[in-house]
């Protein structure tokens, strides 16, 4: 036991671990905050769709020889805004959306193969790091950038929290009260795009939905009061990242993305059980 404690104490002396905590705090905070509204607005499918886009965008940038993050942020923000603009007027059914994003994933596979064959000496693990994240491999610059972007997203959401909450809970009444519902919806999906790109760096495109949904869903289970739920969702997401990082440090065979999502999932199951035990 004391050995584990000693390992935990040495955790922050490692520079890669410090970078991971810096980036992870910003990513977790914006994920939990945005996630609360994504769950409230019933837009989880958007998050799932954006994870496909994140994969393809990142690999397209790599294949074209740009920085991975350029394609990541560019693709997710563009698609997020696009989905917001099309919105309900597009009336695309499940099959159409699913087909488009399945094909997008296929394009991602093409870009992966282009990248891997174009750079025979370069790492063939790019696909794995996009799909499952590489939070322990961040440079200090990338970590601080991720943390600052996360803080920026949080600030924007908090500034717009009241109208956003109003528009999410009762769109018609909010519109009647003069809240720019449509503009808020579009900007919100743009921010979800930024969050998706951020989270891809931490836990990867495949698992980003977990970090977006699980802490927020747990918060929705624990309290119905918006302010408390928002704080709780943010706190639980940051806690998941911290606990996941610490866990993967103590047990190096467990990858950090798995640990982070596992903690988030356990928190959600715990919250559900607590709610069930209260009988409501």
């Amino acid at each position: 036991m004391s050995a584990e404690l000693a390992i935990l104490a040495s955790l922050l002396s490692q520079s890669f671990m410090r970078n991971a905590f810096v980036a992870g705090t910003g990513i977790g905070a914006c994920c939990g905050l945005i996630g609360y509204f994504v769950v409230l607005r019933g837009q989880l499918f958007t998050g799932d769709a954006l994870s496909h886009v994140a994969f393809t965008g990142a690999l397209a940038a790599l294949a074209a020889g740009f920085d991975l993050r350029l394609g990541l942020f560019g693709a997710t923000i563009a698609v997020g805004l696009g989905m917001g603009l099309l919105g309900r007027s597009a009336r695309a059914d499940d099959v159409v959306i699913g087909s488009v994003f399945a094909w997008m994933m296929g394009l991602g596979v093409l870009f992966l193969s282009l990248y891997a064959s174009g750079n025979s000496a370069a790492n063939g693990t790019a696909g794995v790091s996009v799909l499952f994240g590489s939070i322990l491999g961040l440079t200090p610059g990338a970590a601080w950038t991720a943390a600052l972007i996360g803080a920026g997203v949080c600030a924007l959401v908090l500034i717009a929290a009241r109208p956003l909450l109003f528009a999410s809970i009762d769109e018609a009444v909010a519109a009647a009260a003069g809240v720019p519902v449509r503009a808020i919806g579009i900007a919100f999906l743009g921010l979800v795009g930024v969050t998706a790109a951020e989270t891809t760096q931490a836990v990867g495109a495949l698992l980003l939905l977990g970090l977006l949904a699980a802490p927020a869903a747990a918060a929705h289970k624990l309290t119905a009061r918006p302010a408390a739920a928002i704080a709780l969702s943010t706190g639980l997401a940051v806690l998941s990242v911290w606990a996941g990082l610490a866990l993967s440090y103590v047990a190096p065979s467990l990858p950090p993305s798995f640990c982070i999502i596992a903690v988030a999932a356990v928190l959600f199951v715990g919250a559900s059980a607590w709610r069930a035990s209260r009988g409501f």
Binding site: V95, S99, W103, S113, L114
Partner: protein, 108 residues
């Protein structure tokens, strides 16, 4: 009982399909051919046969193209499936439009 049995079979189908396209692209091979078939015909028997035929064509074509080019099979299979679906939707839409035009011009 029937739905449990169906989901059991679906599980087997997904495991089978992921050997060809990989688990990420299963959706394309599992959903696109039947979606295309349902756009083309409303009759269940014909739809099933058509769906199987489309899936086989897409897989065979994808495999053969991938053999002659350096790019991955999964990409070709998803792209062919998606192209088939889009083609069916477009054909359906233009057909509907011509039919409407015919009825409109037939009217005195």
């Amino acid at each position: 009982m029937l739905s449990i049995g169906f989901l059991f079979l679906l599980g087997i189908a997904v495991a089978e399909a992921s050997q060809i396209t990989g688990s990420l692209l299963v959706f394309a091979l599992l959903v696109l051919p039947p979606a295309t078939a349902q756009v083309v015909t409303g009759r269940p028997g014909l739809g099933m046969a058509l769906s199987v035929a489309i899936a086989l064509t897409v897989t065979w074509l994808g495999l053969s193209i991938a053999y002659y080019t350096p790019y991955p099979t999964g990409f070709y299979i998803t792209s062919l499936g998606f192209a088939g679906y889009v083609a069916a939707r477009v054909a359906r839409a233009t057909e509907g439009r011509t039919r409407r035009q015919i009825t409109a011009s037939a009217r005195p």
